[in-house]
Amino acid sequence: MPQDLRARVLEQEELGGGCFRMRLDAAPIAREARAGQFVMIGLPDPAETLVRRPFSVARLVPDTGEPEALEIVYKVYGRRTRQMTRFRPGTEVALLGPLGRGFWIPGEAEGTEVLLVAGGIGAAPFPLFLQRAGKDLAGRTTLFLGGGTRDDLLLVDWFRERCGEVVLVTEDGSAGERGLVTGPLAARLDAPPRGERVVLACGPRPMLRAVAELCLARDVPCQLSLEERMACGFGACLGCVVERRHPEGEFDRYVRVCTEGPVFDAREVLP
């Protein structure tokens, strides 16, 4: 059940590449949050931030045990995210969450190999995935972390400590392999599988489209975390729709990212 809280900003840190990490005093939301779910953030007075904005729950604090706070990781794009960088410890925000359907792991018990694919700020939901996964599953997880340049690769050291394998890819070659994240992903998908595999991806639309194509062509289960502009986050405004891949009828052409998603089976939607 989502909760609508007043939460205090506990700390903020600039991560580089125009990205920030914000810690929020929101234990009730943190306890419920699953990887891939999100929160809507605004200031308490709707006249100040008329529509709240969605951000993935990135990480819980502390790292293990009962969560006391949550963190989001965000990239500065425009007016609102710039405003968010000015929130100081103690700033009160109106925080709604956890919202939406997160990632799910089919066949978790049978030693499934998980391939996480992140483009830039698309890494945001994956720390929570690893925290919730536990040691065994995290050890069977490979993260393909891609970006334009070295500064776009977020939380690399944190991921390296917790993830079976981390593969870095940059377009300019300043860290890891040069190229797009889909390059090493395709190579991995074409290598003989160790067991069941599942791909979880979050990043810009062109990346998601390419990842979906790679997986669909090889019949590898694939989940995509999608973004669309949102006003409410809980299914009421009908603003956040994406197109279904196979609509059943005229009326079913769209699904809501905030409610049916943000994580979809790649077979369900057209990213």
């Binding site: 502009r229 299914g235 405004c237 956040c240």
Partner: protein, 308 residues
Amino acid sequence: MSPIRMQVKVGRGLVLRNPVLTASGTFGYGLEFEPFCDLAALGGIVVKGISPRPRAGNPPPRLVETPCGMLNAIGLQNVGVERFRTEKLPLLREHGATVVVNVYGHEVADYVAVVRALEEETGIAAFELNLSCPNVKEGGLEIGRSPRAIREVTAAVREVTSRPLWVKLTPAVTDIVETAEAAVSGGADALSLINTFPGMVVDVETRRPVLHRGTGGLSGPAIRPLAVALVHRVARAVDVPVIGIGGITSVRDVVEFLLVGATAVQVGTANFHDPALAARLVRELDAWCEARGVADVRELVGALEENR
């Protein structure tokens, strides 16, 4: 219970328990807000516009935030009257909500069809005809800008329902008194003012409109002074109750609309930001009145003092 009288009458003897409703399209079918808000505490819930058949709506992007406002081009995505009747309405009845059904069509026959399909149902307090949607190709503003068409649609629906009939007007006309009078002459029991203003935002880097459809409807605090002025004008010109809508986010905004002549108000876009807002405004209005010695909320309606 507080001693303040909060009931208001909005056409055909319909008594609402208080003057704070939620606006169509900003409160889903009510049920989405159930975790946050006691639906029965509201003066009423105006549900998302219902058309004779389901509608898929417009392609995304459908939203963009603007200074103190928001543009939307949802395109009246809705489940259609049949699924509303069988799936949504029974649940709303269970919650004890006062339900107003917002009706949308392309032509006269569509409005009549929706109202006919629901006329026998219990648990509907009133119908609100949306003659003002800027986000669909047909109907919408074409009807909403023509006094003749407004009168025709209103009169046709009037024939098939004994329920209170509200007509929701667009601000995008030269003289809103003309369209308001047309609705009243067609048999409207109350007028809902206002729907959104047509607007546009361009991404100057890509040189494309941000909304897929190009234009959308502007809502939120940005339109509130415009809405207040229009309500002020219409409330003096017509004899039926006026319901004030546009940019409400606080109790002072509610009182502002009442003072210029609105009998009730609808909270819109702000519901998205704070799903408990409308129910809280009911309590805050009560407290506002109590603190100022206003015993009956109706004392505020039209109580504007003119500057000399």
